[in-house]
């Protein structure tokens, strides 16, 4: 059996575990995959987070991808970072750079076994700030300068590819080279607030081809998180795991301890359990009903007869789900165009699922409906709690272009 076939049946522990430490964020990116903004009062405490690290160490999860929200705004972020590293769970964290002043940069440069990933969605301030908010380009650049001055080795620059920045790939590479950084590019998913802007931001078919050609020609040393495996149907497979790893080799622990099949699938349909449940994370990973189901052989559904199915495996589950397409059909960005046909064929009655988890500052606070509550009946909207002054972002009320 090929290795990827083994992966389809799941592993004893995840390979790629994303852990979002907080829904709080100083930015309000229009495409935020987790609809972050406000802190959730039920977030794991410092002690609970350390117990999760203990479990990950026991399960030999060798590193975690920490994100958010903006993880560094958690006051105990640096304590948890050290705790994790001390317990043989290496940390790669994604940040917009807001807290990476010269002192923190120097601290990180002294810390072994930590990777830093600075988010940047435009090689120029206008393209970046269009989606990430005013000032965010400068914040990222300052963080990269501080890391470089402190001698931090090879940070990553993490770019979500959009219609506006595909043409900037060479410029992104130049920025990475300038700071001694490694470029990482990933796919825009219609997850979280990304669903609201996906039609406008996702690369066109021609741009997908351009992106694929760029990766084949210049992609050596460029990380992709294996997120473009749907493009492998163009021909030569891209390096990496050409498979949807959701619940098989990948999962997400969200700030309140909920475990989802993938970071792009924050929705009750992909909720496997909570690290606070009896048996903790290990039991969720190894025995939850959802993950067991995801590890069954996939049939390929409508894609089975397509000659490219072996290459793309039907694409991204989350991209299909949040555009209202069937999970066993083509990816909305299927390179053969079947996804576009399926999108066009959606009728007015097609329900496009939306996550109940929304911590956007523009949304009612704690708007998640109780997951144990019966569904199907119209529920009264959750009570809206008043904003407190400290919840308000410096950017609150500033219109973000394109939103």
């Amino acid at each position: 059996m090929k290795l990827t076939e083994h992966f389809q049946y799941g592993l004893n522990s995840p390979i790629c575990l994303t852990w979002e430490l907080t829904y709080a964020c100083n930015l309000a990116c229009v495409h935020c995959l987790s609809s972050s903004g406000r802190r959730d009062p039920r977030e794991l405490t410092t002690d609970e987070a350390k117990r999760v690290v203990d479990e990950l160490q026991k399960m030999q999860v060798f590193y975690v991808n920490i994100g958010g929200g903006e993880p560094t705004v958690r006051p105990d972020f640096w304590e948890l970072l050290d705790y994790s590293i001390d317990h043989n769970v290496g940390v790669k964290f994604s940040t917009n750079g807001i807290k990476l002043d010269p002192a923190r940069a120097a601290q990180l440069a002294r810390t072994d076994y930590v990777d830093v990933q600075i988010s940047l969605d435009g090689a120029t301030a206008d393209v970046n700030d269009h989606v990430r908010g005013p000032g965010s380009y400068d914040t990222a650049m300052r963080a990269l300068e501080n890391l470089a001055s402190a001698g931090f080795q090879q940070p990553k620059i993490s770019v979500v590819m959009t219609r506006q920045n595909v043409d900037q790939l060479d410029e992104f590479k130049a920025i990475a080279d300038k700071f001694g950084a490694q470029l990482r590019i990933t796919r825009l998913r219609p997850s979280g607030r990304g669903a609201d802007v996906w039609d406008e931001l996702h690369p066109t078919a021609a741009q997908q081809r351009q992106l694929y050609d760029w990766l084949v020609a210049r992609g050596d040393g460029v990380l992709t998180g294996d997120s473009f495996f749907h493009l492998s149907a163009y021909g030569e497979a891209l390096p990496g795991l050409n498979l949807c790893g959701a619940g098989r080799v990948v999962c997400l622990i969200d700030p309140v301890g909920d475990v989802y099949a993938c970071p792009f699938a924050i929705h009750d349909n992909f909720l496997a359990g909570n690290v606070r449940d009896p048996g903790g994370f290990e039991r969720v990973w190894q025995a939850s009903e959802l993950f067991t189901e995801l590890r069954q052989p996939q049939t390929g559904g409508a894609c089975r007869s397509c000659g490219h199915y072996d290459a793309c495996q039907g694409g991204c589950m989350a991209a299909k789900f949040f555009t209202g397409l069937p999970l066993d059909g083509p990816d909305p960005e299927c390179v053969r165009g079947f996804g576009e046909q399926a999108l066009a064929a959606r009728s007015g009655e097609t329900t496009i699922p939306k996550s109940e988890v929304d911590h956007s500052r523009s949304a009612p606070r704690n708007s998640r409906v109780n997951k144990r509550a019966p569904v199907g009946l119209p529920l009264a909207p959750p009570p809206r709690r008043p904003d407190r002054a400290c919840d308000a972002s410096p950017l609150a009320g500033v219109p973000v272009a394109g939103s």
Partner: protein, 85 residues
């Protein structure tokens, strides 16, 4: 370096290089874990009972692990035998 048992064999992780590799069969796990007990890679492969026909593939897998810095030649035996580690 740490080995994590998996249904296909094991994941091997090197904390220094941060390289993650896959040992794709249980026999390869036996070979790798046996390296320290044997004089050279051939002994370790022999001891794990790897089929003759499969041995070139196993040597290639070990060479890959050595290239990644996940396993290292023992200076004395490697020079004496002139084996690729």
């Amino acid at each position: 370096m740490a080995l994590r048992p998996e249904p296909f064999g094991a994941l091997v992780y090197h904390f220094g290089t941060r390289k993650l590799s896959f040992l794709k069969t249980p026999q390869l796990v036996d070979v790798v874990t046996g390296l320290e007990r044997h004089a050279d890679v051939h002994d370790a492969i022999e001891a794990a009972g790897v089929d003759l026909a499969q041995r070139p593939a196993y040597l290639r897998a070990l060479a890959g692990l050595a290239d990644a810095g996940t396993i290292e030649p023992r200076p004395t035996t490697a020079t004496q035998n002139g084996e690729p580690a």
